[in-house]
Symmetry: C2
């Protein structure tokens, strides 16, 4: 399942390793800029371009996924198992959401179209528990 990267076998870099580590230890689906700000503590000369370049590489390698997420900026996650997202309409927080039935939904869709289904994503929107409480 690995090593089907058609192109360059990659060298390591402290920056890229750290980006991956950060993504693997946060659940907040960060933006490139959040990662940049965070890493600047350790890499004072870090460039935002480096963050973007590495994120693109990691996505290409299949180690990271990019979410479009409805906002104006891209968000990233390193959680690779199929799962969905809950997006709060008010505060825009994004939480992971595990709901079984991923394959069933694919199969059900496959039966209803001549499209060859490879997968799907679901975004639920609503109010997170915090915003739900504050409902004006």
């Amino acid at each position: 399942m690995n090593n089907h990267s058609s192109h360059t076998s990659l060298r390591h870099s402290r920056q890229r390793d750290e980006i991956l580590k950060l993504l693997r230890t946060t659940t907040s689906h960060p933006t490139a800029d959040w990662i940049y700000q965070e890493m600047k503590k350790e890499f004072p000369h870090l460039s935002l371009g480096t963050v973007y370049r590495n994120l693109a590489l990691l996505v290409e390698q299949g180690l990271v996924r990019k979410l479009e997420s409805g906002s104006t900026f891209d968000r990233f996650e390193a959680r690779l198992e199929p799962h969905y997202h809950l997006i709060c309409s008010r505060c825009r927080v994004i939480s992971d959401f595990d709901m079984p039935g991923y394959q069933e939904i694919n199969e059900r869709a496959a039966r209803m179209t001549d499209f060859k289904i490879q997968g799907h994503k679901i975004e639920f929107f609503g109010l997170c528990s915090t915003c739900r409480a504050q409902q004006s």
Copy 2:
């Protein structure tokens, strides 16, 4: 038809009416620029800013929906009933996809989270019939 002008009572403009008409008579989920190019035939002095401003107004009124769609640009549709999208991984074409069970999925999700679910979207990705045939 319906006349539920909620907040800002809007004046009409030939441009906005035409944008809505275009969106209602196409199934291709066009970009702002596609609409712009298309309308330029009839409105030679049309500005792209006008297209964007009107799309935003129509979205605000609930007459049009914006899709993020995974590409770098926004796409728009005037089909308001709940439905899903099939996106071809190869040629990027987007088709509408009606699959029953919208409410069930909402309810099922609602049972599994403390989020107050308002709705969801599903994007299926795979190969459209054309690309599937050409599969190398």
